[in-house]
Amino acid sequence: MQEAIAFTPQIDASSIARWLWLIPALPIVAAGIISVSKQPRRKLASSLAIGSLGISLLIAIAAFAHVLSGWSHGYAVREVVNFSWLTVGTQAVELGWVLDPLSAVMLVMVTFVGLLIFIYSTGYMEHDENYTRFFCFLALFAGAMLGVVIANSILLLFMCWELVGLTSYLLIGFWYQKPSAAAAARKAFITTRVGDIFFLLGIVWLFAQTGTLLFYDHGTGSMEPLALGGLLVHHSHWGLTAAGAIGLLIFAGAAGKSGQLPLHVWLPDAMEGPTPVSALIHAATMVAAGVYLIARVYPLMSAGAVAHGEAPGTTTALMVVTWVGASTAVFAALIAVAQNDIKRILAYSTVSQLGYMMAGLGVGGVAVGMFHLITHAFFKALLFMGSGSVIHGAHEEQDIRHMGGLWKVMPWTFYTYAVGMLALCGVPIFFSGFWSKDAILESAHGWSLSHAPYYMLVFGAVLTAFYMTRQVSYVFFGEYRGHSHAHESPRVMTTPLVILAVFAIGLGIIGTPAWPWFRAFLEDHTTSVEMHAFAEPAWLMLLLTSFIIVIVGIGLGWWLYGNKSPRAEEPDALEKSIPAVWTVLANRLYIDELYGATVIAFYYWWAKVADWIDREIWGDMVSTVTWLFNHWARLNKFLDATMVDGAFDKGCEEVYNGGGVLARIQNGRGQIYLRLLAVAVVILAAILIWSGHP
């Protein structure tokens, strides 16, 4: 099906690659300017943010076109620009950026979706008094995220990664007056920090083993065969190679950022932030950074298998990625079934879809995971912005039980939301979500180690279709159960929805089995349109499976919730039939409670112990030292006052008196002077005579 022609590597940096740093730099500079401008300058803030990201988008498109033209001429474009940041002894800390198909695709996606969300935000945040601050944070986030994307140095990636974490914290806690928002921001920051500690350990280990921070450096970077070979020689504990262990540590960081089990708890709470933030950061871009990171270090993750000529997905590291991803996909989809907050459902859906991406990376490689990342970014941003439009139109109402029948009052929102929902469910042929999810299922089916992930992912897909149908029926169908009058959102909010909806439908075309352009582009080989791929029995089986998944999911959902318009106080349809399961799911499988009872309880206890140690032991030591110094100071004061001062005063007095005595000699009588002179001469003569000098 695909001709695996080895492309000529092209490594010399072109001018577009040399100027690639402008893409993250522009939004960061814009954020800096906004941060020093006054609060009422709203127009300035939003136009700076949108303008800078717009220019970044243009540069990103130019970079993408450059990579594309290289690809179509048979070059594997990987242009790196490296430089020494600082030199410590003989070790140089090197930073740099890379332009290759992976970063080019991601750059275009982030800048494009980001730009649409920026524009949408001008409508959504219109009535917020801290509009200026919002755009400052948003621009800073965009810059940091783009920095993660272009980084060729794991250190630069980590710095931008942390900057992304910071802006995520700032934006989740944007309405910090709400205690729940402040708590959610802290939770997000601390939970991701847990993963980042492992990530940092992985970075240090990788640096210690390979001696370089760069991914690609003309043969000496850490993602290139020379360094990877060295990593495979070293074995750490439990039969892992150094490559595998470092890969797992890096995956822990990615799991924190991408909300994988067991570090997913922060992502649903992060919905306390403004909805554009949820769309941009917690659906389309930042949470995808973890997936992107795994794709970036994929040579490391798959190192062992490639060396032994096996399929990439069989290394320990990728096996863990697959299992964690598949478990997250099912687990989060289960919880999403029993949520009533419109954004929380989407949040759990995001966690679940991120699980799909991770599993896709594990079983199928970079192209499979990244394809779902790209399509998901579009339709999930669409869904979040649609939900934002619903919340905006329904006067800050987030509980889906208080909505209903909105399709009549908000037609634009409804139709675009429906597109996003169908894409997320993976409705065959017409929606991008189908093609990307299908590729993951296909790879999972072909995974050589186990078939369990495949069944988990299929089950997750059924659940996805089910909970999305439930949500859409609650929100858009039946009778309106809210109290205030709902209205359609302004044009500035619906236009980005329409654009995203177009992409949610059309984007699938780049990754169909007949024309797997996306995979070919990322994996540096050529491709052609081969319609007969649609007729292959394996693919037809998958198509059938997908059909069944969607029909079962949507059908079950419609049967339980469609057009029912239940009253808000009434228990959920599912709750009536299986109350025990429902309670567990509605309480999010008690994960938060589990953490509360174990990790957090331990920290409280430890904090108390530390407090006691502080008061009783360190406190006493400090007061003893204080007492000693106090008395030492008193002694010094006494010595100073009596001995030092006394001696000095005495000396002064003597000099004064001596002066008085000498002054009496000078009495103005010449004869006295002469006498003294004569006596002095006599004494001098006597000294000269007796000392033997005649």
Binding site: Q666, N667, G668, R669, G670, Q671, L674, R675, A678
Partner: protein
Amino acid sequence: MTPLASYLIVAALIFAIGLAGALTRRNAIMVLIGIELMLNAANLNLIAFWRYGPHPELLSGMMFAIFSIAVAAAEAAVGLGLVISIYRHAKTSDVEEMNRMKG
């Protein structure tokens, strides 16, 4: 020939007499006379040392003595002038009472 020591002893005696006069007399004129005696004792020494020195053929000692006498004359003139001026001013030539020079 008279030995050098004799000249030195005579000069020392004259110097001692001069010094005693300069230190003990209360009349300013007498003090000046004492000073002149000391100077001439020094001149006598100069001549004696020259005459008994390694180069008596050079006239260096003579020159010193003549200079010294000339300077002494000038000094005596100035000293007598001062004494007369003080006498006119204070109607006394008693050095005990001339104590206005203290700082």
